[in-house]
């Protein structure tokens, strides 16, 4: 019960964040000096064409009225239409968002699955060779630019070794001979649901390199954060008490201490997850990954406001959701948090 009311309170606060972002992006898009109607009309429009389009898009109405219409559409689940391609943004995002989420979730899982145990051991054996080695890996992961890592990865695993494909989500052969029945848009999930294991394997092989490259940053911070908070936690009296009680080292490190030390890493990885939805665009571009990053980059270059606003809102939504998830995990781990 305490957990539920905690959740509702956090959710209530998040709604204000969402509304704030909505108002801000909307106003910014309307006050920036550019002419969306002219953009919509295409190359060299006649003035009467522009006027007609302004009317059609409602751009001749006052700002408050435009905002009301936009919010109205939004509440009906309609994100609008791209000025540039005139395609429905809902349709576009239903393709690009799963692609990006699949990539980013894979990257974050890699970061957590490897980063946390490495961080725990590095914290448990400070000043050891392992500690110094992981420091190097962690700092490299955080500071090496992703595009450089992407190119190196391609040159090794595609050009030199030929183990993994160069880019895109799936091979042409797979789309031709064993196509994945689209349901969620996550290839690995869709292929698994339909038992299409050949396509699953193909999609997984395509996912490995971009996911690894994208995981470098969250992996680095996961290691560093976990190691740092383990160092603190291992100095706590309850750890000494656990040792005095003769508990196995494995239990002390990975159960008793880790539960106390895992939150900072989860918090930061949660933030980097939401950031990566658009921040992955370099990796997406290099690996020809049809994701949100690429989509919004093009929209920015074309001053395609409906798309920019829509993606901003989606990213905001994910920031909120991920933070909420982190809060829930924290409340589950720490009974004292539920009281706050």
């Amino acid at each position: 019960m305490a957990l539920l009311s905690f959740l509702l309170r956090r959710l209530g606060l998040s709604i204000f964040v969402f509304i704030g972002v909505l108002i801000l992006t909307f106003i910014v898009s309307r006050v920036i000096p550019s002419n969306p109607a002219a953009l919509y009309a295409g190359a060299r429009p006649r003035p009467e064409q522009v006027a007609e389009i302004e009317k059609k898009l409602g751009l001749d109405k006052p700002l408050s009225e435009q905002f009301r219409v936009y919010v109205d559409d939004l509440l009906n689940g309609d994100l609008g239409e791209s000025y540039h391609s005139r395609r429905s943004i809902n349709t576009d995002l239903s393709i690009f968002l799963p692609a990006t989420l699949e990539l980013v979730i894979a990257a974050v899982l890699i970061a957590l699955v490897f980063g946390i145990p490495i961080g725990v051991l590095a914290g448990a054996y400070p000043r050891s060779v392992f500690d110094y080695a992981t420091r190097f890996v962690a700092i490299a992961g955080v500071s090496v630019p992703s595009f450089w890592l992407a190119l190196i990865a391609q040159s090794i695993f595609f050009s030199q070794l030929g183990w993994l494909p160069l880019g895109s989500r799936i091979s042409r052969d797979a789309t031709l001979f064993y196509p994945i029945a689209a349901q969620t848009g996550f290839y690995l999930i869709d292929a698994a649901i339909s038992g299409n294991w050949k396509a699953w394997l193909d999609a997984a092989r395509h996912l490995i390199l971009p996911a690894l490259v994208l995981s470098a940053y969250p992996l680095g911070i996961t290691i560093r954060m976990t190691q740092a908070s383990m160092l603190e936690v291992l100095a706590e009296p309850y750890v000494a008490a656990a040792r005095a009680a003769g508990l196995p080292r494995r239990v002390i490190l990975f159960k008793l201490a880790l539960k106390n030390a895992v939150m900072p890493a989860l918090t930061v990885v949660g933030l980097s997850f939401a950031y990566s939805i658009t921040g992955a665009f370099l990796v997406e571009t290099i690996f020809s990954w049809p994701g949100v990053g690429k989509y919004v980059t093009e929209a920015v270059l074309n001053v395609d406001f409906p798309v920019i606003i829509a993606v901003s809102l989606v990213v905001t939504l994910f920031y909120i959701l991920v933070n909420l998830l982190v809060d829930v995990v924290q409340a589950l781990l720490d009974p004292r948090v539920r009281l706050v």
Binding site: E236, P237, Y238, A240, A241, A242, R243, A244, A245, G246, L247, P248, V251, K255, L256, K259, N260, L333, D334, P335, R336
Partner: protein, 324 residues
């Protein structure tokens, strides 16, 4: 019969300022089924001695000499795996501040369960009923519900009771209680000490009670060991030491106790302060503060010598009376 014997224990810490000689030859024996009070002021080495027994020292600490005999095995020479079987199962520890010595993210039941699982084979529901029994035996109200409770939901006294239950879980033979009542209110202190005494009698456990509070020792202990600057200055049965303190330091400590009836008169103090441990002490460490100091005290270190069968002191004042 001694269940635990500390012999000539020397320990030093390496610090940025140089080596600190924290223990400079500690000797005492814990008699089976008794409570031994390890007394001294902050920095005298009493906690470090307790931690040495379980080998729970920081990396900066090094035991340079001595033996710790438990049932004729030297704990300092046991491999780590054997040591883990002794910790909790044979020798357990109670810590000063239960608020920090209990893991905040696990229920009392989970924490006791971990100890049981590490040491005593058995099914999960057997462990659960054992946990409830333990919580009842330390006087926690509503023990079946206490299993599900987190440390922060308990009062300080209840937390220390839970900590004691935790230390008793694997039925150890020896408990090292490191200032178990220091973080508690005076009224709760008395209850906890009472509980310790009762448990010790019922279960025939031997206890090392580490404290700076002579009052606690007088109330609770059969044996007393007084430490000063990393050495034993006086030891013996509580009755002998309290009735007839022989070392000037023990006398000073006892004189410094506030007593009912002495209200209004000035509290006695021992002038000066404890040596830092950074410099090697020559002669008796207490010499600079001692009112009976003699020439030889500054040159030679007095050894711990028996005055009677149940009373020893390390002071040249008594050498004459012992040998002459």
């Amino acid at each position: 019969m001694a269940i635990l014997a500390v012999e000539n224990l020397h320990l030093r810490f390496s610090t940025p300022f140089g080596a600190v000689y924290a223990l400079r030859g500690i000797d005492f024996e814990l008699t089976k089924g008794e409570i031994l009070g390890l007394v001294g002021e902050t920095g005298c080495g009493k906690s470090v001695t307790g931690r040495s027994v379980l080998r729970l020292l920081d990396d900066s600490a090094r035991i340079t000499d001595g033996r710790i005999l438990f049932e004729d095995r030297d704990l300092l020479r046991l491999p780590e795996a054997a040591m883990r079987e002794i910790r909790g199962r044979r020798i357990a520890m109670i810590f000063q501040d239960p608020a920090t010595a209990l893991n905040p993210l696990f229920t009392i039941g989970q924490q006791i369960n971990d100890v049981l699982r590490a040491h005593i084979p058995g099914a999960a529901d057997a462990r659960r009923s054992r946990t409830i029994e333990l919580l009842a035996s330390v006087g926690l109200p509503d023990p079946a519900q206490m299993v599900e409770v987190y440390p922060h939901q308990l009062s300080g006294g209840q937390q220390q009771r839970a900590m004691i239950a935790l230390s008793l879980a694997a039925e150890p033979d020896v408990i090292i209680a490191d200032e178990p009542t220091t973080a508690l209110d005076v009224t709760i202190q008395a209850q906890i000490l009472d509980l310790l005494r009762t448990l010790q009698r019922k279960r025939a456990i031997s206890v090392i009670l580490i404290t700076h509070d002579l009052g606690v020792v007088a109330e609770t202990c059969q044996q007393v060991v007084v430490l000063y600057a990393g050495r034993v200055v006086e030891a013996g049965s509580a009755t002998a030491v309290f009735a007839n303190p022989q070392h000037p330091y023990t006398r000073g400590l006892l004189a410094a106790l506030p007593r009912p009836g002495s209200r209004g008169s000035e509290l006695k103090v021992i002038p000066g302060s404890v040596p830092s441990g950074l410099e090697r002490v020559k002669g008796c460490a207490f010499a600079p503060r001692c009112e009976h100091v003699m020439e030889r005290c500054r040159v030679n270190q007095p050894a711990l010598a028996s005055l009677t069968a149940a009373h020893q002191a390390a002071c040249f004042l008594h050498e004459a009376s012992v040998h002459g």
